[in-house]
C-alpha cells in the first residue's frame, strides 16, 4: 500500500467513525474515567487486557447482531446457536475428529441455525422476534437432548492452545474478534452486501424495486450472526475446556445492548461496527469495574441497568435530538 493510499484510507476510516460513534466513545471515556478514579489498578495494562478479553465474546456476537439489526431484524437465538455449535464440535473432538474439522463442523452448525432463522424470516415472512424466540427454545432443546444435559469434557489441548494463545501481547480471542470487526466494517462500508443490508432495513420496498436481493440479504445476515455465534462458542470452549448445552444463556441481551448502545436502531437501516465494538467494551468495562470495586450483586445489577440508561443518555445529549 503506497503512502498516499494509506493516508487516504485513514481519512476514510476517520469519516467512518461518525458523529454517532463519537457519542459512544464519549460514553466509554466517561465510564473509564469514573472507574479509573474509583478503582486503583483499573488502568493497569493487565486489567485493560482483561477488559478486552472479557468483552471479546460479546463483541463477536454483537457484530453479527448489528448486521441483523441493520437489516431490520433481531436474533434472539445466538446463545442456543452457540451452545449447539459448541457441544457438537466438542463431542466430535472428543471422539477423535481432528480439531480443524470439528471447528468447521461447529461453524456449519452456526450457519445452519442462521439459515433456518433467515428462511423463516425472509421466505415465510414471519416476524424476526418471534421466529428467533421460537428457535431460541428449539436450539437449546436440541443441544440438551444431544448431550443428555451433560457437559462435554476433555477437549484436546491442541485445540485449547489455539484459542488461548496470544499475539503481540494480546489474547488471541481479542485479536480474532478485532479481525472480525475489521472484516465486518469492510463488509458494511465497502461491499454491495453492506449497502444491501442498509437498504433492506431502511426501506425494503424501495430496495426490492431497485433489484436488491431481499431474501438473500436477510438470510445472509442471519447466517453471519449464526456463524459469529459459533465462533464465539469456539473461543469460549477453548477457554473453558468444556462445552455445555446450557452455555450462552442470556447472550442475546448483552449483544443487543452493545449494538444499541453503539447506535444500531432496532427499526432497521442503521447501525455501526465501530459503535458496536465500543458498546461491547462499555459493557465489559462496567462489569470489570464493578467487580473490582466489590460491589454487591444486587447493586451491580442496579448499576448495570443505570449504566445502560446513562450510556444512551450521554449519547443522546452529545448528539442532540433526532
Amino acid at each position: 500500500m503506497s503512502d498516499a493510499t494509506l493516508v487516504r484510507s485513514q481519512a476514510e476510516f476517520l469519516r467512518g467513525v461518525s458523529m454517532r460513534d463519537a457519542g459512544t466513545l464519549i460514553g466509554l471515556v466517561v465510564i473509564l474515567a469514573v472507574f479509573g478514579a474509583l478503582v486503583p489498578g483499573f488502568f493497569a495494562e493487565r486489567n485493560l487486557i482483561n477488559i478486552l478479553q472479557q468483552s471479546s465474546i460479546n463483541a463477536c456476537l454483537a457484530l453479527g447482531m448489528t448486521l441483523v439489526i441493520i437489516s431490520g431484524g433481531i436474533d434472539l437465538s445466538v446463545g442456543p446457536t452457540a451452545a449447539l455449535s459448541a457441544v457438537i464440535s466438542a463431542s466430535m473432538m472428543v471422539a477423535g475428529v481432528p480439531f480443524p474439522l470439528a471447528i468447521a463442523a461447529g461453524f456449519a452448525i452456526g450457519l445452519a441455525c442462521g439459515l433456518v432463522n433467515g428462511v423463516l424470516v425472509a421466505h415465510v415472512g414471519l416476524q424476526p422476534f418471534i421466529v428467533t424466540l421460537g428457535t431460541l427454545s428449539t436450539y437449546r432443546a436440541l443441544a440438551l437432548i444431544y448431550t443428555g444435559g451433560n457437559p462435554v469434557l476433555g477437549l484436546p489441548p491442541g485445540f485449547r492452545a489455539v484459542f488461548n494463545g496470544s499475539l503481540f501481547g494480546l489474547p488471541l480471542a481479542v485479536v480474532i474478534v478485532a479481525c472480525v470487526a475489521v472484516v465486518a466494517w469492510v463488509v458494511l462500508k465497502k461491499t454491495p452486501f453492506g449497502e444491501y443490508l442498509l437498504a433492506v432495513g431502511g426501506n425494503e420496498e424501495a430496495a426490492y424495486i431497485a433489484g436488491v436481493p431481499i431474501a438473500r440479504t436477510k438470510i445472509a445476515a442471519y447466517m453471519i450472526s449464526g456463524l459469529l455465534a459459533a465462533l464465539a462458542a469456539q473461543i469460549l470452549i477453548g477457554r473453558l475446556g468444556a462445552a455445555e448445552p446450557i452455555l450462552g444463556n442470556l447472550w442475546e441481551l448483552d449483544a443487543i445492548a452493545a449494538a444499541a448502545i453503539g447506535g444500531a436502531s432496532l427499526m432497521g437501516g442503521k447501525g455501526s461496527v465501530v459503535g458496536t465494538i465500543l458498546g461491547a467494551v462499555i459493557l465489559g468495562a462496567m462489569r470489570n469495574g464493578l467487580t473490582l470495586m466489590n460491589v454487591q450483586s444486587f447493586y451491580q445489577l442496579l448499576a448495570t441497568g443505570l449504566i445502560i440508561l446513562a450510556a444512551m443518555l450521554i449519547d443522546r445529549v452529545t448528539r442532540g435530538r433526532g
Binding site: 465497502k190 426501506n203 431497485a210 433489484g211 437501516g269 442503521k270
Partner: protein, 504 residues
Amino acid sequence: MSPRLQFQGISKLFPAVRALDGVSFSVGAGEIHGLLGENGAGKSTLLRILSGVYRPTAGSVLIDGKPVTLVNPVAARAAGVAMIHQELQQVPRLSVAQNMFLGHPLTRGAIFVARREQERRAAEALAAIDPSIDPAAPLGTLKVAQRQIVEIARALLDRARIVAMDEPTSSLTPSEFERLAQVITGLARDGVAVVYVSHKLDEVFGICRRATIMRDGVVVDSVDLNDLSEKAVVAMMVGRELAQEQHNSHATNKVMLSARGLSSATKVRNVSFDLHRGEVLGIAGLVGSGRTELLRLLAGADRATAGTIAIDGKAARFFSPRDAIAAGVGLVPEERKREGIVPLRSITSNMALASMAVFAPRGLIDHARLKQVAAEKMSRVNLRPFLLDRPIRLFSGGNQQKAIIGRWLAAGTRILLFDEPTRGIDVGAKAEIYHLIEELAAEGHAVVVVSSELPEVIRLADRVLVMRDGTIAAELDRANLSEQAIAAHAIPQTQTPAAQPARQ
C-alpha cells in the same frame, strides 16, 4: 386592514443548508395565492413553518396583523391554519374518516369516538371532490390519488381561516383538479386565505390571481398573474429563459420489448404491445386504469398470471425486479417515498443501489469510481444542492426523483419505465427530464412513460397506448394524438356506473 396572513423575514437554517432567507409576503382574506419555485426553492419549508412542523430560525408569521407563535401543529391548527402536506401524512391502518379526524376526533360522551358521526361528516367533505370514497374503508386500501383527495378533504373539515396546499394535485387528473378548483374558489369566497403550491403552472394560472415566486430560499417577487405570461413566470422561477421544446422522434423498427397477452391477478387484462429501440411509448388512462400495475409486471415487481414478455426477441421470465434489471429493464416508481428512496442513505448510495455489483467488480466497492459516476450522473440530472453524501431524505421531492432516474442511468438500463416521472417536479426540472428522456431515446434506449398529465404524454410520446379498465383501449400515433383523442378512449364508452373505474 391588515392582510389575513403575513410572512415577515422568515429564515430557516438546516445543518449546512439555508432553506429560507428573509422571506416576506402576504396573502389577503379571500385570496388564492400561488407559491411558485423550483424544487428545493423552499416552498414546503415555508408552509411547514406555517403549519407548526418547523420553527423559523428568524422572522415571524402574522395572522390578521397579530404575530402568532406556531410551536407545533396543534398550535397552528388552533390559530386557524389547515395544511395539505406534500408527502401524504396518513396512517394506513386507520379508516379514511379516522384519518381525517385524527388528533381531534369527534366523541360521544367525551369517551368514545363517534365513528358514525365522523364518517357522515367525512363523507360530506369528500362529496365535494370524490363521493366514491368510502369513509369507513381502511386508508391503506386506497390508491394514491384517492389518498390525496382524503388529505384535501381533511383540510376542508377544519373550517380554517388559512388553508395551505402543498402540491395537492400531484397525483390527480385534470378532471379531479376541476372539482378541486371549485372547492378552492368556494373557500376563497367564504373569506379563507389559500396558499397554493404547484408545479403545474396551468393550474396556478387557472385559479390564482397573485403569486409569489421563490428561488433558492428567497422571494424573487410577488406578482399579479394577469400581467404576466407563463413564460415570464417560468423565467423568474428558473432565472433564465427556457427554450421552447419540440418533439423529436428517434424511434426505430427494432423491437426491444414485446408483451403478449399480459394479465395480472388484479387489474391488467390481456395487454399486448411492442416497444422499439429509440422509442418513447406513452401510456395514458384514467386513475385506476391499471397503468401502474402494467409497469410493475414489466419491471418484475409483480408476477403476471398469464402472457409473455420478450426482450430483444428472447422470452424473458421475471420473478423479481432483479431479473428485469438483469434483462435491462428499470422502473422509476410512482410512490417515491415508499418505493423509491432509502431515506437514511446518501444520494450516491441510492443512485448506486441497482448497480452495486458493477461498482464492485472484485467484491469491494470502488468508491473512487462510484463517486465519479455519481458526480457525472447527478450533474446530468442537475441535482440541487449538489451534495452527494447527504442523506436523500433531506432533499426536496424533485431532487429525490432525479437521483432515482440517475439510478438507472448508472445501471446502464436499456428499457426505462417511468411512472408519473414528473410528479412534484418543477418546470425547469421537468424540461430537463423531458430532455433527458429524449436523449435516452436518441442513445438507443426504449422508454415507457405513464402519465396522467396529457400535455406531458403529448410532448414526449412517439406513440400512445390508452388504457381502460386494465386493457389497451386504443393505440394512437403522433398523427392522431390529441388530448381529446386520449380522453375519448380513456373514458368508458358505456356510461353505466358499473363500468366506472373501481374505486374502493
